[in-house]
Symmetry: C2
C-alpha cells in the first residue's frame, strides 16, 4: 500500500491483488450492507438498507435546517426545511444500489469499500420534487447543471472537499427527483441523511446526496471531485472516463437453507425449495425476465407484481433439490434488452459490477 500522506498526495492508489488490506477492513466495518435474507421484504426494514458514507456522519441537532439555493437563479435564498415540507409531497419506493457494489469481487481491485454484493436496499422515500424548490428560486435559462452539496467533509486523494454531486437540468427537473425528509414513514436516520437528502431514482446511490446543505445552479459543468474524478467508469487506471449514472440491470438471490457461521457455506434439505430474490434496473426501465441457473442450466422465474417504477421486483422459482453440491445463480433482463453478464466486467474504480449472483449450496438427503 502507498504510505503517501493522505492529506496531500493526489496520486492514484495502486490496485490491490490478493488479500484484503487493513484499510479495506476498516471500511467494511464502517459501512453496512443488506443481509441477503432481508431481500424477502418488499420494503427494506430500517437499519438493513445499505449505507456507505464517505466521511463522518455529521451531527445535526434539530430541524432548524436551511438549504441555500444559489447560482443561476433569479432569487437566491436560504429555504427552511419547514418550508420545503409545505411543498407537494410524494412517496416513492426506490431501489438504491452503491455504484461500487461488487468491487470486492474484481481482481485486481481498486482500494475502496470492498463490497461483495450486498450494497442495495429498497426503501420508501417521502419528500417533494426538487423542481418546486428550483421554481421558487427562479432557475435561469442558462442553469445547465444543478449541484448538490452536503455538510459531510473530508479528504480523498489529497483533496479536501464536502461531498457534492450534480445533475443535468432536465434530470433535476423531473418529477421523480425528490428532496426527502422521511424514509419508511419516519424521519431520516442520521446515517441516511437527516434532516434532508436528495433521492435520484434509477441512479446509483452516489447521486442521492445526504445532509443536503446547498443547491447551486451552474452555467457550466460541475467539477467537484466526486463528480469529475471518483464516480467514472474507466477501462484502465487513468484512462478515458465515462460518468457513472443509472444502475445496471441486476438481481440477487436469497441463499436457501442454513449457514455455517464462519464460512457462510449453505446447507439445504433435499426436496422442493422455493428460490426467491429481487431484480432491478436503472432509469426506471422495467425488469422483463429473471432466470435461475442450477448447475449451469437456466430456467425462467416467475415475476411478482411491480412495486413501482423505481422499486426492485420480486421473483421466485421452484427447484427440486437433489443431494450433492449445486451452483445456483440468477440473471435479470430489462425492457431495454440488457442482461446481466456471466462474468464480472472489470472497472478501474470497481464500479458497475452487475455480473450474475452465484450461491453455492450443499444439499443433504432428508433425515
Amino acid at each position: 500500500m502507498s504510505q503517501a500522506n493522505p492529506f496531500t498526495s493526489t496520486a492514484r492508489r495502486p490496485h490491490i491483488e490478493g488479500p484484503f488490506q487493513p484499510e479495506e477492513m476498516r471500511l467494511a466495518n464502517r459501512n453496512s450492507g443488506l443481509l441477503l435474507e432481508a431481500l424477502r421484504y418488499d420494503v427494506t426494514p430500517t437499519g438493513l438498507h445499505y449505507q456507505l458514507n464517505h466521511f463522518d456522519v455529521p451531527y445535526v441537532a434539530d430541524d432548524a435546517w436551511q438549504v441555500e439555493v444559489a447560482g443561476r437563479v433569479a432569487r437566491p435564498a436560504s429555504i427552511s426545511l419547514d418550508e420545503i415540507c409545505t411543498f407537494p409531497a410524494r412517496t416513492l419506493p426506490v431501489a438504491l444500489e452503491c455504484a461500487g457494489n461488487g468491487r470486492g469481487a474484481m481482481s485486481p481491485r481498486y482500494p475502496s469499500m470492498p463490497w461483495m454484493c450486498e450494497a442495495v436496499g429498497n426503501a420508501e422515500w417521502t419528500g417533494t420534487p426538487l423542481r418546486h424548490v428550483l421554481e421558487r428560486a427562479g432557475l435561469l435559462d442558462d442553469g445547465i447543471e444543478i449541484a448538490f452539496i452536503g455538510v459531510d467533509r473530508g479528504f480523498d486523494r489529497g483533496r479536501e472537499h464536502a461531498y457534492g454531486r450534480s445533475l443535468a437540468r432536465d434530470v433535476a427537473l423531473s418529477d421523480d427527483v425528490l428532496l426527502v425528509w422521511a424514509m419508511n414513514g419516519q424521519a431520516l436516520l442520521p446515517q441516511h441523511g437527516f434532516p434532508l437528502r436528495l433521492i435520484v431514482p434509477g441512479w446509483y446511490g452516489m447521486a442521492s446526496v445526504k445532509w443536503l446543505h446547498r443547491i447551486e445552479a451552474l452555467a457550466q459543468p460541475y467539477d467537484g471531485f466526486q463528480q469529475a474524478v471518483v464516480y467514472q467508469y474507466r477501462s484502465e487506471p487513468g484512462g478515458p472516463r465515462t460518468p457513472v449514472t443509472h444502475m445496471r440491470v441486476k438481481s440477487l438471490l436469497i441463499p436457501p437453507g442454513i449457514p455455517d457461521w464462519y464460512t457462510r457455506a449453505r446447507l439445504v434439505d433435499a426436496g422442493p425449495v422455493t428460490l426467491t430474490g429481487r431484480a432491478w434496473s436503472g432509469g426506471g426501465v422495467p425488469i422483463t425476465r429473471v432466470e435461475v441457473g442450477v448447475d449451469g442450466a437456466w430456467m425462467p422465474a416467475e415475476l411478482a407484481a411491480p412495486l413501482g417504477p423505481f422499486a426492485w421486483r420480486g421473483w421466485r422459482c421452484m427447484w427440486h433439490a437433489e443431494p450433492g453440491e449445486h451452483a445456483l445463480a440468477c440473471r435479470a433482463t430489462d425492457a431495454n434488452g440488457e442482461t446481466q453478464p456471466l462474468e464480472t466486467r472489470w472497472d478501474a474504480g470497481g464500479f458497475g459490477n452487475n455480473a450474475v449472483h452465484r450461491v453455492h449450496v450443499t444439499v443433504r438427503a432428508k433425515p
Copy 2:
C-alpha cells in the same frame, strides 16, 4: 485456511496471522458496528447500534408469537407475546458490547468476526422482567439454570444448532433481566430480535438471545455449543476455559477532526478541541474515572451525569491541539478499581479485548 467440510468438521479453526481472509471480509460485510461519531448520542439511533448475528436473521411474519416455557417448571406452557406484554413493563438504557469486539486487533487472531472497536451501542430496551414469566410457569427449586433458545439455526465447527445460551437461576431472577419487545420506543427490528428477545444488562451481548422461542429450566448446567464451547476465555487454543460473562471496563473516543476516505486518517485544526466519548463497565459497576492520553501523558476527563446503572457514561476533556502528529487515547476505571490495560490481552477466541482506544491525528495550523 482449513478447507475442512464446515458441516462435518469439528476441528478448531487455525489462528490467522497477517492479512484478512475472505471469510473475515464476508463477516465484516454482514455484521455492522457503531460509527464512532455516533458515540455522541446518549441513545444510539436505530440502525447504528452494533449487530452481530451468527446465522441468518429469521423471518417472523407477525406477532402471533409463542414462547415455550419448559423443563423444571410446575406449569410448562406456551406463553403468547400478547400475554407477556401484559406483565409489568420496564425501560432500561443498556450498553451492549460484543464479546469479540477488538478481536481484529489481536495477533494471531481467531477466525471469526474481525471487529476493531465498533461493536457497541446503548439503546433503550422495553420489556418485562423475565422473572414474571418464570413465576407464572412455577420455576421449581431444582431449576439451577435457565436456557434461552432462539429460532436462528446453523452450523459452527460441524455442530448444527439453534443459537442458545443460559443464565444461572439467581441472575435470571434479577429484576434487570428483561424479555423485550421494543428498542428505542419502537417494535424490535428483525435484525435485533423481532418480536421478542432477552436483554441481560451488564453482560456481553452473547447473553441477550434474539428471536426467543424457548425457555427451559434445567436441573444441570446447560451444555449448548455457544455456552460450553464458543464464549469461553482461553489463554491458549484448547486450553482451560473460563466463561465469558460481564463486560470488562472500556471506553471509546470520538475521533476529532475530519477523515480521509480510504485510510480514515484524521486531520484536526490547531486550537482548542473538545475530546469526548463514552465509557462503560459490566455487571452494573459504575464508571468512576476516565483519563485522556495525549502523546503518552494522561489527564482526567470530566464525567457526564449517569444515564442509568447499565448505560454507558459520557465524558469530555479539553485539549489544546498544537500542529504536528499526536497520539490520543482514553482509559476508563470502574468502581471495582478495574482499569483498561494499555496493551491487548490475547485470548484464543478473541474475546474481552478492553485495551485503551487509540486514535492518531494530524494537527494543522489554522489557515
